[in-house]
Amino acid sequence: MPLTLIRSYADQTILRLKEFLLVMQEFLLFSVRAFTTIPKIKRYWRDFLDQAAICGAESIPIVLVSSISIGSLLAIEVGNLLEDFGAKTMLGRSTSISVLRELGPLLMGLMLSARYGSRNGAELGAMQISEQIDALRAFGTDPVAKLVMPRLMAALVMFFPLTALADFSGLQAAGLLSEHYHHIDPGIFWNSVYPRLTPKDFVASFLKAPVFAIIITLVSSFNGFLARGGTAGVGRSTIKGIVVSSGLVLIANFYVSKLVLENMR
């Protein structure tokens, strides 16, 4: 009996592993397809502009809210800590490193994973369930070129200005809080920020934009394409897209930072 149970468990594990590898293979082919259709961008220019508005202009409020709140919190908490060491004048430097290199782009990535990723997953999932994606294929249109590539290009383009906005607004919020909460002169704050910024800070920040754009768009779109089983299936695929892309954003954030810090002076 225990032997049968072990064998059944092993069979199930092997089956799940096979399914996982098949999905990974499909995802790889899907991603390659999305990139190889980029030359068709001229044909899908309007779709690109629509998606650019959705992931760019319409995402500004959520990016502002997240970056301002994290900049403000950092200024308060780090300022309190530095005060114990009599080093409040270093507040600008410490918050700028945190906001620029890590928290600005990371929070933006997570927010866009929730906002842009969920929209992609739900919209494409609903199209899959209602056979609209099959209809595209049946009438001779490549659904990856029409639906995924413009989303990918829009994210690749728009994540750069959104990263800049997240960094800028986070730092401005930190500057304001340092003045009004910790009573640090703005000149002292900004003097500890600007002269000490290095190219490494900006590379760490802006290198994350395209990485997050690729992760969020491809993972959420792929999950939308995999949606099965009615409206509940759309919900499941959307959630899976957000969870997986958010996890990958966190992992990618760590590795991009590590790569830049280890390879740039």
Binding site: Q132, D134, R137, A138, F139, G140, D142
Partner: protein
């Protein structure tokens, strides 16, 4: 002509089609009759190359499309039109945009030619005055007629219908069946439709294939269905209920 030859298809461990062979001739109406969930829609998707069989072959006009690449399949698919069960109209587009979308996508036609073809399908579907409406504002029968118009937009040789009357009221169902029958006469088109409604088969089909437990248990002229002594066919002919 579309032909499935010894096609076997599995979804995971479940055997959906077991060595199925059937053909749809040009300029005839062929029905595939079977209970819900037996794999009838799958047959249409195989005919279009939207899914690949585990074994067997699919031929379109004598050309084996079984292992063709997606990009090579696009021109072949345009020889056929398909009307999906839920119509699969693009819900963010108006009726005329739904009809013109694939023309703009796939053919380099001048705008006046696109407008002419769209107007032709609007007239055919009897939807004059609804050109700028979204699909959600139309009735089920009207949406079906738009989907048929879209399927005809490339002037195909064959049109495939997935449960053409499912969810429609009796009057709309009759209109849709008459429309399908008229396509053969006026446009010289072949048609294949899958259904679980036996009355639809007798109303318009020249030939019928009966799919049961993954196998074709009858394939022949519709009138000859009465001569079959298969227990399942006898039961559906007497009860006219396929939900087994």
């Amino acid at each position: 002509m579309i032909e499935l030859r010894n096609v076997t298809l599995k979804y995971g461990e479940k055997l959906v089609l077991d060595k199925v062979s059937l053909a749809v001739q040009d300029n005839t109406i062929k029905a595939v009759l079977g209970p819900s969930g037996v794999g009838k829609s799958t047959i249409l998707k195989l005919m279009l190359g939207l899914i690949k069989p585990n074994s067997g072959q699919v031929f379109v006009d004598g050309l084996d499309i079984t292992s063709m690449k997606e990009a090579d399949l696009y021109p072949i698919r345009r020889k056929m039109g398909i009307v999906f069960q839920g119509n699969a109209l693009f819900d963010s587009m108006t009726i005329s945009q739904n009809l013109s979308f694939f023309l703009r996508e796939n053919l380099r036609l001048p705008e006046d030619e696109i407008g002419r073809r769209v107007a032709e399908q609007i007239r055919f579907a009897g939807l004059e005055g609804y050109e700028d409406q979204l699909p959600e504002s139309l009735s089920g029968g009207m949406r079906k007629r738009v989907a048929i118009g879209r399927a005809l937009i490339f002037n195909p040789k064959m049109i495939l219908f997935d449960e053409p009357t499912a969810g429609l009221d009796p009057v709309s169902s009759k209109k849709i069946l008459n429309l399908i029958a008229s396509l053969k006469k006026s446009n010289d088109l072949g048609a294949a439709f899958v259904t679980h409604i036996i009355d639809d088969v007798f109303a318009i089909a020249d030939h019928v294939a009966v799919l049961y437990q993954g196998k074709i248990i009858f394939d022949g002229e519709t009138e000859k269905l009465h001569e079959s002594d298969h227990p399942f066919i006898r039961s559906i002919l007497s009860d006219k209920i396929l939900e087994l």
